[in-house]
Amino acid sequence: MTKPVTQKSLIKKFSGIAAVVVLLSGCAANPQPVDEANDPIEGVNRVVYSFNELLDVWFLRPAATLYRAMLPPPIQEGIHNMLANLSTPVILLNDILQGETDRAGTTVSRFAINTTVGVLGFGDPASDMGYKKHSEDFGQTLGTWGFEGGPYIVLPVFGPSNPRDVVGRVVDYFTDPVNMWAQNTDRDGITITRAVLDAVDTRAHYYDAIEDIKRNSLDPYSAMRSYYIQRRNAEIMNNEASKATPAPSLSFDFNAPAPGDEEITEAR
């Protein structure tokens, strides 16, 4: 499939990345008290957050607004499905790396059905046949392997992240067949177009939720931070839509702090 040289350098990349992750997350193994987010560079993060906000107000939000105004919802949904279908190879790889054979099977079926019957991923007939969509990426794989996220980082342009998920993003990029093909054939335009479309589609897809957080929060920065950290943990636990099989799929961490625990009775 690929030249042996590429594979060798890929292994090299992997081991380098693994070393970085071990270094970065080794110091973050202690559980944090609930109120204190693991955010040692909050000052810098807030500056980057404000910068990203400007980018959003000037470019991304207008683009998403235009996108929503111009395209009828079914077309938007179709493009969303198509982009999701393009990332199924990365999902499959991470299903396998996590030893999730059932989910790997679902991913293969989804890709086969949606690429053919769904016309290059534009439709999602696989969902109606019981092969529900799920997310997977290398950051989640590292999470299931026991790596903690580490300190919270706000990346310019890309937004909320942490060392583990930065590594995950890089690995996802290099393990994506479309990116590989574009790179090997000098078609950078494809990668860029896809990235821009991805950004606009994501912003448009979550338009209401994002506006909602900004409008209703006393401090959008810390709300976003909490949502990101919690959402990633939920994804790592595979806390997703119930499968077609009747097996209990609800994974819930009852030990996570919640209102009505001892702490409250103590405070009464």
Binding site: V34, D35, E77, S222, A223, A241, F254, P259, A267
Partner: protein, 216 residues
């Protein structure tokens, strides 16, 4: 020897009975919690679907919230370690503002759904014991194919009534998010609970006036 063995097996059997009885009770509580959530959700969905008037929706929302949620417990927990530091009058003021804030934010949230044919379906539940359960539900909006996963943490209080103490949207605990946000606001105003109280008051009145403007 024989006696001890008999005593042991008697103990084992009774232990088993007690254990399975507790399991059965916990399972019953799960079913009870599922019914409780479905009933409450049906009421809320009907309000959202039928009402066009923001003020009426807010009023109905307040009733549903106070019936179904342990707002005080949530409010206290969300304030975290600052609850103990707050003065008695600050506590009262905070709890009152917290309720108004929750109603203002969530009715502004549900404004987007107004008149829409949304449905909530309870899917399953897991129980920790006979007083604590998680109920999973799916909210379906007409124009989107993927349902939103909403988990409800339901506990039985001292009076035997069921109350929601947390809502998790796609695995994200709203109480936890609110708590870390409030902690951040207090920290940034020099560790003063009063800073949060002011911020809550401003935000709530701002949200209410936007609602008033939008409905005119």
């Amino acid at each position: 020897m024989l006696l001890t063995r008999r005593a042991f097996s008697a103990l084992f059997v009774s232990g088993l009975i007690v254990f399975s009885a507790t399991c059965a009770m916990a399972k019953d509580f799960g079913k009870e919690a599922e019914g409780f959530i479905q009933t409450m959700a049906d009421k809320a969905v009907t309000s959202v679907r039928t009402s066009q008037d923001e003020a009426v929706l807010q009023q109905e929302f307040r009733i549903i919230l106070n019936d179904g949620f342990d707002v005080r417990a949530i409010g206290k927990w969300v304030l975290g370690r600052y609850w103990r530091k707050a003065k008695p009058e600050e506590k009262e003021e905070y709890l009152k503002l917290f309720e108004d804030f929750i109603i203002a934010t969530y009715s502004s949230r549900f404004k987007d759904y107004a008149g829409e044919d949304i449905t909530l379906k309870v899917v399953q539940s897991v129980t920790r014991n006979d007083k604590d359960a998680i109920v999973r539900s799916e909210i379906q909006r007409p124009q989107t194919s993927e349902p939103i996963l909403v988990d409800w943490r339901v506990k039985q209080n001292k009076d035997g009534a069921l109350k929601v103490v947390d809502v998790l949207i796609a695995g994200v605990s709203m109480s936890q998010a609110q708590r870390s946000e409030f902690a951040s606001v207090i920290k940034r105003s020099g560790g003063e609970v009063n800073g949060l109280i002011d911020a809550l008051r401003n935000k709530t009145s701002q949200l209410v006036s936007t609602v008033a403007r939008d409905t005119q």
